[in-house]
């Protein structure tokens, strides 16, 4: 069951200057759309352009060319509005070690314009759901890696964003912490939210994604449902389809 398109990317490009003074195109004309109630997977090898694409869509980077509408707002002209409606989480996302879990979450809640009552209610709800109550007043530098990532999850969804961007968010996590993220993704989908999901783990793709885009050398190779991908691999696993597509592109 899918809702309205929450991400419409049209010809997104991103150039970075190289050390020799030339331009390197990291993302080259990426076009796709992702809908509400849909988990949209981004697959690609390291350096393919997944992270840059997600950074463009989250307004961290400005596109060199192209445009996107996120939750109906222009990436180029309404960056502030775009940021209000996204939650962002990556494997590299850190926490403020000297703040407690509750303080860290409250800080981002305030930055999102929430008042103290809203922050408190939402924090209790999410800490309860992720079993973080016992750690709410513990400084983040004393938390385990898994619990830190759970705090980051709460931070990312505290303001209840319609679009969640997860960039390899389960990389390096143990089973329990990964499962918390997987549950989060499922919950978001069931509540009509859109999840942009980049990962290297094919089991997660098979378990979660409705549609998958494959990015290779900055370009979008394909954008299809899981069953379409499987069909291309002759009914095999997603991983085989992915490897076959990369082989064709190379």
């Amino acid at each position: 069951m899918s809702g309205p398109p929450l991400v419409i990317a049209e010809g997104l490009c991103k150039d970075f200057p190289s050390r020799r003074g030339q331009k390197v195109r990291a993302v080259d004309g990426v076009t796709f759309s992702a809908l509400g109630g849909e988990v949209f997977g981004l697959l690609g090898v390291n350096g393919a352009g997944k992270t840059t694409t997600l950074r463009l869509l989250s307004t961290m980077l400005r596109p060199s060319a192209g445009e996107a509408r996120v939750c109906g707002h222009s990436l180029l002209r309404e960056a502030g509005e775009v940021r209000r409606c996204i939650g962002f989480l990556s494997a590299a996302t850190g926490v403020y070690g000297r703040l407690t879990a509750r303080e860290m979450v409250a800080y981002f809640g305030r930055l999102h314009g929430m008042d103290d009552r809203q922050i408190s209610q939402r924090t209790e709800e999410l800490f309860g759901r992720l079993q973080l109550e016992a750690f709410a007043d513990v400084r983040c530098d004393s938390l385990s890696t898994g619990n830190r990532q759970k705090v980051s999850i709460v931070r990312a969804i505290l303001h209840d964003p319609p679009l969640l961007i997860l960039d390899e968010a389960t990389a390096g996590l143990d089973v329990l912490a990964s499962r918390a993220i997987v549950e989060l993704v499922k919950d978001c989908r069931s509540r009509g939210k859109c999840v942009l999901f980049s990962t290297h783990r094919m089991d997660e793709v098979e378990a979660l994604c409705d549609r998958v885009a494959i990015i290779h050398r900055g370009r979008l190779l394909s954008c299809s449902t899981l069953s379409e991908m499987r069909a291309r691999a002759g009914g095999g696993r997603i991983e085989e389809a992915f490897v076959a597509m990369l082989g064709e592109a190379s």
């Binding site: 989250s58 961290m60 502030g80 590299a92 926490v95 703040l99 800080y107 305030r110 980051s152």
Partner: protein, 485 residues
């Protein structure tokens, strides 16, 4: 710009900094404890070793005592530090009066001498009693010079070169230098041929002193002997005048007596040089750690991405961080000034408290103006440091980038120690130098003479601070800065 967002960022960053032990170390512990402790230790150690050296008996070798036997015997006798002298020196030390101070007041007016003695709690009758004991009952004038000669005679062992070890003129200097270097002797002297005859015949005898400039012992022995010889010379002149029935004013047609005017004295001068330098230096040092943590620290922790996707203008983010770093710089500068002032009031710095009979203090207005002068400079430091920190990929890289800046900053701040550098309209536009010199004028009590300059300094530094802040905000929007590498 959103004041709510700026306040949120400011509140979080301040809390973060106040929980950081390393930042607190730079911000609070260093100015409050380390500076006074370091200065106190330095002065105490210097005084301790200087006293130890002055108690050591230094060998002064006389190469040809036969040329002036009476003079040699007199020098031998006077070189010995007597028990009476030691007792007088200890009495003066108990009242924090040192030799240098007495020497400085050698020709000063009785009023200055009396003021010093009463400030140090010396009772006249007690001092007269001590002087009588150390001089063996002789009449001594209560001048700084006379008391210094009595209490601090050079502690010299004046011996003759009986084995004629240094008799060969061709190798004399080389051998003497070696003997001083190996501490067999501290210095040496010889008299001109028939020096005794020249003295007795109302002529002029020449005394040559051999010493090694790099040796403290040698320098001390040389200075002690020069003092003794001057003292003896004055007595010989007095005897000659008496023999001819001339008054002792005959050879002193002009008697110079410097009179110190009320107002800023040596201590004020020293503090007005030292304080601006330390205030500027510690304002910078106090800002360094928070700036690194709030910029490069965000990258190293991986929290920068989450901040950049929060619905906050980059300007608001930078302003919130900038205000915390500026506050840290100001707290550090303020604590440095306060801890030095309190330490001085408590008499912690022996050398500084003995530097003069004046006291160092400033009014509330001067303190407020000093603080106002420092604010824009703290803003410049905060913005500059944040820019460097944001550009750096890690804590380590930020530290490497900032360290040379620290060395560069010491030079303009050092201007307060340079003699003759005055605050003028041109200097008012030179950052750091202008504030350092303005603070110096404020602490010397010359604020009223420089109100125009101070106004211009406040205006120019405020403009620089605004430009730096604008640059920091522009810098923080650049992808090449935020996502380097």
């Amino acid at each position: 710009m959103s004041p709510r967002a700026i306040a949120t960022v400011f509140g979080k960053e301040l809390r973060d900094v106040l929980r950081d032990r390393r930042a607190l170390m730079f911000l609070l512990v260093l100015p409050i404890l380390a500076i006074p402790a370091l200065m106190w230790l330095t002065t105490e150690i210097t005084v301790h070793f200087a006293q130890k050296l002055s108690q050591e008996k230094l060998v002064m070798l006389v190469l040809n005592p036969e040329a002036a036997p009476d003079l040699w015997q007199e020098l031998r006798r006077r070189g010995e530090a007597t028990h009476g002298a030691k007792r007088l020196a200890e009495y003066l030390a108990r009242h924090r009066i040192g030799r240098e101070e007495l020497e400085r007041l050698r020709d000063a007016s009785p009023r200055d001498m009396a003021q010093l003695l009463s400030e140090r709690g010396v009772r006249w009758e007690e001092l007269e009693k001590e002087i009588a004991i150390s001089s063996g009952g002789g009449d001594i004038e209560l001048t700084g010079g006379a008391i210094a000669n009595l209490a601090f005679p050079p502690n010299l062992d004046v011996i003759a070169d009986t084995e004629r070890e240094f008799a060969d003129p061709a190798k004399r200097e080389e051998r003497l230098a070696e003997a001083v270097r190996t501490e067999r002797i501290a210095a040496a002297m010889d008299f001109s041929k028939d020096a005794q005859g020249q003295i007795d015949g109302e002529g002029s005898a020449k005394v040559r002193l051999y010493y090694l400039e790099s040796s403290d012992r040698s320098e001390l022995a040389k200075n002690g002997m020069v003092r003794l010889l001057r003292q003896l010379g004055a007595e010989i002149v007095e005897r000659r005048l008496q023999a001819r029935g001339l008054p002792d004013t005959f050879n002193r047609p002009l008697v110079v007596r410097p009179e110190r005017l009320p107002g800023a004295g040596l201590l004020v001068k020293l503090m007005s040089q030292l304080l601006p330098y330390l205030i500027i230096l510690f304002a910078f040092l106090g800002a360094v750690y928070p700036a690194i943590d709030l910029g490069a620290g965000e990258k190293e922790r991986g929290t920068l991405e989450t901040l950049l996707v929060a619905p906050v203008e980059r300007l608001d983010l930078v302003l919130g961080k900038f205000l915390v770093v500026t506050l840290a710089a100001m707290i550090s500068a303020l604590l440095t000034a306060l801890s030095l002032a309190v330490s001085l009031r408590l008499g912690m710095f022996a050398m500084l408290s003995q530097a003069g009979a004046d006291s160092f203090s400033f009014s509330l207005g001067e303190a407020a103006l000093s603080l106002l002068l420092v604010v824009p400079t703290c803003c410049i430091f905060a913005a500059g440091l944040l820019m460097l920190s944001l550009f750096s990929r890690s804590f380590k890289e930020a530290q490497s980038a900032i360290s040379p800046l620290q060395t560069l900053l010491i030079l303009p701040a050092f201007v307060s120690f340079l003699p003759g550098v005055k605050l003028d309209w041109g200097i008012c536009a030179v950052p750091v130098v202008n504030v350092t010199l303005a603070l110096k004028e404020v602490f010397t009590g010359n604020m009223d003479r420089h109100l125009g300059h101070i106004g211009l300094i406040l205006a120019s530094t405020a403009v620089y601070a605004a430009l730096m802040l604008w640059a920091a905000a522009w810098w923080s929007r650049r992808e090449r800065v935020l996502f380097r590498g």
